[in-house]
Amino acid sequence: MDRIPILKMGPYLLVTIQVDMHDELALTLQDDLTNRITATRAKGVLIDISSLDVVDSFIGRMIANISAMARVLDARTVVVGMLPSVAITLVELGLHLDGVLTALNVEKGMALLQRA
């Protein structure tokens, strides 16, 4: 079964989504990520979605949920590299992802995590 790799970089976790996100994959990621945060006591999570060009309301909510779960485990989540079309879709779906930090690219996202 496919899994999305979670990389550890110092006190941060790095997740790059490079395949089409389907529902099961998202649920697996949610499981894996919460486990890794607890295991590594990570301070922040960076999710790069620059290759993700299709989202639906479920995936949108998953991103918000993952961020909220990480927050409970005392890690900040930054979502980086969202494509314009994806941003427009999420807004039209009414998902504003309040409470999720965003940045234009991985570099800026890292800087944001270090500041937070």
Binding site: V79, I88, L104, K108
Partner: protein
Amino acid sequence: MNAKAVNPLFGVLQTQDDSLLDAWMKAQTGSMASRKDLIKESELREQSRKFLAALRAAAEKGGSTDIYGAAWDEARDFLKSISASRAQQGFTPTETAMFVFSLKEPVFEQLRKDVGDNAKSLASELWQATTLFDRLGLYTTEAYQQSRNDVIGRQQSELLELSTPVVQLWDGILALPLVGTLDSSRTQVVMESLLQRIVDTGSEIAIIDITGVPTVDTLVAQHLMKTIAATRLMGADCIISGIRPQIAQTIVHLGVDLGEVTTKATLADALATALKRLQKTATSSAT
């Protein structure tokens, strides 16, 4: 037995000579079809001659008054091009249609001469002729309208393109001066071009200047909020500037909640704030 005896109307169109053209030119100059300030008489005469030739060709190809048939292709194309050029030259629809309708009188005159005293057949010929010219005239008007619609459509899309420029004010700061009323389709274009520019330039701050937006109602405010939400999702910040006193009052009266969006009265203030924020980011990431 020649065609003339079979069908006097098509006979007239086939055997026409300069006398029909002369009579038509006279009818045109007498009516509204000729605008001496817009079209030269020689040009009008040339167009009239071409149209008569097209009519002759159509009459020779077959005795049908169905102007959408293959026999009338040439005549239809010609009327279309004339309508388009007249629409551009500034003719009114009436003046354009009169180009065809003014041909009725000389043709009727000729029919009267050809058919003569037979009242019954004259009446039926006149009916056939009048139906034919009415159809041609209506076709002309339709083509005129169509070419006007094309112009309007083109202008609309150009206006849409022109009215949403995204400019780079500083390294990392974009500005979007909005001019004119925001409706759904324009918001879509604005949003897409702004987001695309954010990706292209890697800008962290976008200033939306609404000095040129005449009124802000709940719908416009909602469109603005959507744009701002999408910008935030991409990882950039939005500042709204150029809010006139009247608009500030309207926003509050309508109960529009702008949330945590930074708003500034002028573009200058917004730029100052944006620069301050950029500096802050730069120094804190350096340390």
